[in-house]
């Protein structure tokens, strides 16, 4: 009976989140509230237990990075880099697109995806306007590049932050296991957009003078602040990488970085704190409590046992299944709630399946499926939703099917390559 109610609340909440009938923050809060009301989890579980409650490492890592990025956003650095690259490319559309895609991918690996597209999309609108081109191919390419680039690191994509914390994986683990693949994926991806958008690359020499008229140096109005923010970001990234030596959790590093940056910024913190997406943090907290109830009721363990029976304990089958199921589901629902639910399940699988050393590959399967699957549709990843919003406010509506036409191709390509990579690296060569 108890299990049935827990599962019902969970399924109902998930349906409401996926269909967007009710705002996802309300659903997460109400769902978490119901789990507490019926005592499926105690307040102790919800607020103090790592297994059954809120993973504060995730919340504070997100929070810290949001603050750092909030400062960086005020400095105009991204606008500067983007315009400078476009001018270097002399207004050639494909070259500009490659530049913007690479900037987006690298920035998404170091920062959060959503932030990256918030930084790069407006300047893209400006560049496209100057060149007399539709910004839509560039914006779609950037959204997908942010999801691919973000796959490379622990902080690159919110699902990775979750996976890192719940799977006990470090920044280096992500770099060693996922970054090499992401480099290959980016090369293939750039070839793919060259083919897919070949008709949009109309070079208009007479418009180039308008692009060259932009003065990118004028965007850097806060150089001292920019230098401080970049130094702190560099130190934070170094501390992530040196986790094996320093032994500070990523959340602690991000929080420290945010605190020090606000301190050395030398002004009131309000404009920077406004950049913190409180609703995302609350959504995460609510989700954790709901998933915690599911774990506590033993539902996740039963699912894990069923998954092991279904795969006959074969890790390769489990990995391939996990990659593709994750990709499909992440295309249809936001990948954050999906990974929040799957993380405890994968945790059980990693413990239960034979050869526990090699079963970490299950975490990579989950990360790849969820991150890359988000590319398939306009609602698959938060970065896509943000891009669509900026495009619409700029007067360019991107339709669901238009995005999916390109998104599905890229997803099939990248997830297919990822499957081959996982198979060769962790099974053939292992």
């Amino acid at each position: 009976m108890r299990d049935a109610v827990v599962v019902s609340i969970f399924v109902l909440a998930y349906t409401l989140i996926a269909t967007e009938w009710v705002h996802r923050v309300i659903v997460a809060l109400a769902g978490a509230g119901l789990m507490l009301l019926f005592r499926f989890v105690s307040a102790q579980d919800a607020f103090q237990s790592e297994r059954f409650g809120i993973d504060w490492n995730v919340i504070f890592l997100l929070f810290g990075m949001m603050v750092i990025v909030g400062v960086l956003r005020h400095t105009g650095l991204f606008e500067y880099i983007a315009i400078r690259s476009a001018k270097r490319a002399r207004g050639r559309p494909f070259r500009i697109m490659v530049m913007l895609v690479l900037i987006t991918a690298v920035a998404s690996a170091l920062l959060d995806n959503v932030t990256t597209v918030l930084l790069v999309a407006p300047v893209t609108l400006l560049i496209a306007e100057r060149l007399g081109l539709s910004p839509i191919p560039m914006l779609i390419s950037e959204a997908m590049a942010s999801n691919i680039g973000g796959t490379a690191t622990l902080i690159g994509d919110p699902p990775n932050i979750l996976i890192g914390s719940q799977g006990g994986l470090s920044y280096i683990d992500f770099l060693v296991n996922l970054a090499p693949l992401v480099v290959v994926l980016m090369v293939v991806y750039i070839l793919a957009i060259k083919l897919m958008f070949r008709r949009s690359f109309v070079y208009k020499p007479e418009r180039v003078v308008e692009l060259m008229a932009l003065d990118e140096r004028e965007s850097l109005r806060e150089r001292p602040l920019m230098v401080r923010a970049l130094v702190i970001l560099g130190m934070v990234t170094a501390a992530f990488v040196l986790h094996g030596v320093l032994h500070y959790e990523p959340s602690v590093v991000a929080l420290l970085g945010a605190g020090v940056l606000l301190l050395v910024a030398g002004r009131e913190p309000w404009p920077f704190l406004r950049e913190v997406e409180w609703h995302t943090l609350v959504f995460f907290a609510g989700l954790f409590v709901m998933v915690g109830a599911l774990v506590k009721a033993g539902v996740v363990s039963s699912l894990a046992r069923a998954a092991i029976r279904a795969t006959n304990g074969d890790v390769l089958i489990a990995v391939l299944l996990l990659v593709w199921v994750s990709a499909i589901l992440s295309a249809l629902v936001d990948n954050i709630p999906y990974v929040a639910t799957m993380a405890p399940l994968v945790h059980e699988l990693v413990r239960a399946l034979p050869g526990s050393a090699s079963t970490t590959v299950l975490w990579w399967a989950l990360a790849l499926g969820a991150d890359l699957g988000g590319n398939a549709t306009a609602i698959g990843a938060s970065a896509n939703v943000v891009i669509l919003g900026i495009a619409a406010r700029g007067g360019h509506r991107i339709r669901f099917l238009e995005f999916a036409r390109y998104g599905v191709v890229v997803t099939l390509l990248t997830v297919g390559l990822s499957s081959i990579y996982l198979w060769i690296r962790y099974f053939v060569l292992a």
Binding site: L118, P122, V123, L126, E129, L214, R221
Partner: protein
């Protein structure tokens, strides 16, 4: 004193009026806002000078403020083009009509509060479902500061 006692008759445009006409009216230094009113005398929104300015600004500058500096001096000359083919109602923010009106029976404190809350220099005055006038920041201040 009630809202009806201090209200004035500001310029009125229909929702389908050309945006350029609304802009021309707002360019008058005496005019802080227009009422956008449909054929049934229902309020579509209060259009203020600040809203017009926000509309003229390219959307990417509104999203990323550092881009304002990047544009060359002459870019300002082309801003008016953003009004081409637009209607007065296109200039209104999406949630425009929500707070920018008061009942004709409202006290001046209520008027002041509505103005501060909606952050606009003009509110419409409504009687039943019809718009009967408006109160500008100036007319309200003049009244409030008279001993």
């Amino acid at each position: 004193m009630k809202a009806r006692d201090v209200m004035i008759s500001p310029p009125i445009v229909g929702p389908d009026a050309p945006a350029t006409e609304a802009a021309r009216l707002l360019a008058d230094p005496e005019v802080r806002g227009l009422l956008v009113v449909d054929a049934d005398e229902r309020l579509a929104g209060v259009l203020t000078d600040a809203m017009l300015l926000r509309f003229l600004l390219p959307p990417y500058v509104a999203e990323a403020e550092p881009l304002a500096g990047v544009l060359e001096e002459e870019a300002a000359d082309a801003l008016w083009r953003r009004l081409e083919g637009k209607r007065a109602s296109d200039l209104l923010p999406e949630d425009g009509a929500e707070n920018a009106e008061v009942n004709s029976e409202a006290t001046l404190i209520e008027v002041a509060s509505a103005m501060v809350e909606a952050d606009v220099p003009m509110v419409a005055v409504r009687e039943d479902d019809r718009v009967v006038g408006a109160i500008t920041l100036n007319s309200l201040l003049k009244q409030l500061l008279t001993p």
